[in-house]
Symmetry: C2
Subunit: 161 residues, 2 copies
DNA sequence: ATAAGATATCTCGACGTCGAGAAAAGATTC
DNA sequence: GAATCTTTTCTCGACGTCGAGATATCTTAT
C-alpha cells in the first residue's frame, strides 16, 4: 500500500476537504439539537471552556463574521442557552455567558461530542496524530499568511446578470 | 518534537477545521471570478478532468446536493462556461460539458490553483504528506461510515464504502 | 472641549446550500 | 399494456453566512 510517490498537493487538499466534510457532518448529527447548528455548538463550547466573552472574541475563535455572530447569539439567546450582559466599563461591549440551561446542555453535549471524536480518530497512532497535527497547523498557517493571491483577468467579456 | 503527549481528538479536529477554512479561503481568493465561488470552480475542475458528466454524478464528486447542483450549473451556464446537453438514450439525464470559454477559463485557473496549492504545502516533507494523506483518508472514512449517532435510527446496518 | 479615528455590535440585502417534494422518464412486474 | 417502483432533475421555501453600512461608544490628538 505504501506508494513511494510524493502526494501531490491537489490530492492532499482533496482528502483534507473530504475529511472535513465527513467529520463535520458526523459531528453535526451527534451534536445538533432542534434549531441549533454546528456553529452554535462551537460558540457554546468556547463559552464553556473560556467563560464569558465578547461577541467579537467568540467570532474570532469560531471563525464567524460579525453579522453571523449576531444571529448566532440571537439564536442561542432565543433558546435560553446564553445571555447578553452589558459591561459598565465599556458600553459598546456585550459579554455573552452561558445560562444554567446552556451550561447543562453544552456539558452533556460536549461529553458526547468528545467520545464521538475519539471514536472517529481511534484508528490513528500517536505518531500519526502528531504528524497530522503539526502538518495541518503548518498548512493552515501558510494558507492564512499567503491569503492574498493575484487574480487575473478572466471572465471579462462574460458578465451577465 | 517538543511534546510527546498524545494529541487529543478535539485538538486534532480543531486544527483540521482551521486548516480547511484557511486553505478554502486562500483557494477561493485565487480561483474565484466574479459571480463564481469555490463550488463552481470544483464543478469545472471535475469536468476538465473527467469530461462531460451528468448533474448527479458531478454532485457526488463535489459534495453538493441536487438542489445546489441545479443552481451551480445554472450559474455556470449563465456565465457561458458550461452547456447542458440532452441524452437521447436516457431523456431524464442532462449531460454537462465545458464550452470553449469554460475550457479556457478552467485550464488557466486550474494551473494557477495547482501552483497555489503547492506553495501552501511546500513546507511538508514527503513523509508528512504521506502520513497526512493516509490519516485524513482514515478519519474521513471512519466519519462517513459512523455518521449515524444515537439520535438517528439505524435501519441499515453497516454499509461498506 | 472638540474633532477625528478606532472599535463593537447590529441591520439589511444578497448569496449558497439544503430538504422536501414535484415532474418526467426509465425499469420492473404482473 | 398497465401499474408500480426508481432515478434524474428541477422548484420552492427556509436557513446560515457574509459584506457593507449604520450606530453607539471609546480613544487619541489638537
Amino acid at each position: 500500500m505504501t506508494d513511494l510517490e510524493k502526494i501531490p498537493a491537489p490530492r492532499l487538499w482533496l482528502v483534507l476537504a473530504r475529511a472535513f466534510h465527513s467529520v463535520a457532518a458526523y459531528i453535526e448529527g451527534s451534536v445538533t439539537a432542534q434549531g441549533l447548528g454546528l456553529s452554535d455548538f462551537m460558540v457554546l463550547e468556547v463559552l464553556l471552556h473560556k467563560g464569558p466573552l465578547t461577541i467579537s472574541v467568540i467570532g474570532e475563535k469560531v471563525l464567524l463574521a460579525s453579522a453571523s455572530m449576531t444571529s448566532a447569539i440571537d439564536r442561542l439567546e432565543r433558546h435560553g442557552l446564553v445571555r447578553r450582559r452589558s459591561c459598565s466599563s465599556d458600553r459598546r461591549i456585550r459579554l455573552v455567558e452561558l445560562t444554567e440551561d446552556g451550561k447543562i446542555f453544552i456539558e452533556e453535549t460536549y461529553a458526547r461530542h468528545e467520545k464521538d471524536l475519539e471514536r472517529v480518530t481511534e484508528g490513528l497512532s500517536d505518531v500519526e496524530r502528531r504528524v497530522m497535527y503539526e502538518g495541518l497547523k503548518k498548512v493552515g498557517l501558510a494558507a492564512k499568511v499567503a491569503v492574498p493571491t493575484e487574480r487575473c483577468k478572466s471572465l471579462d467579456g462574460v458578465q451577465n446578470g
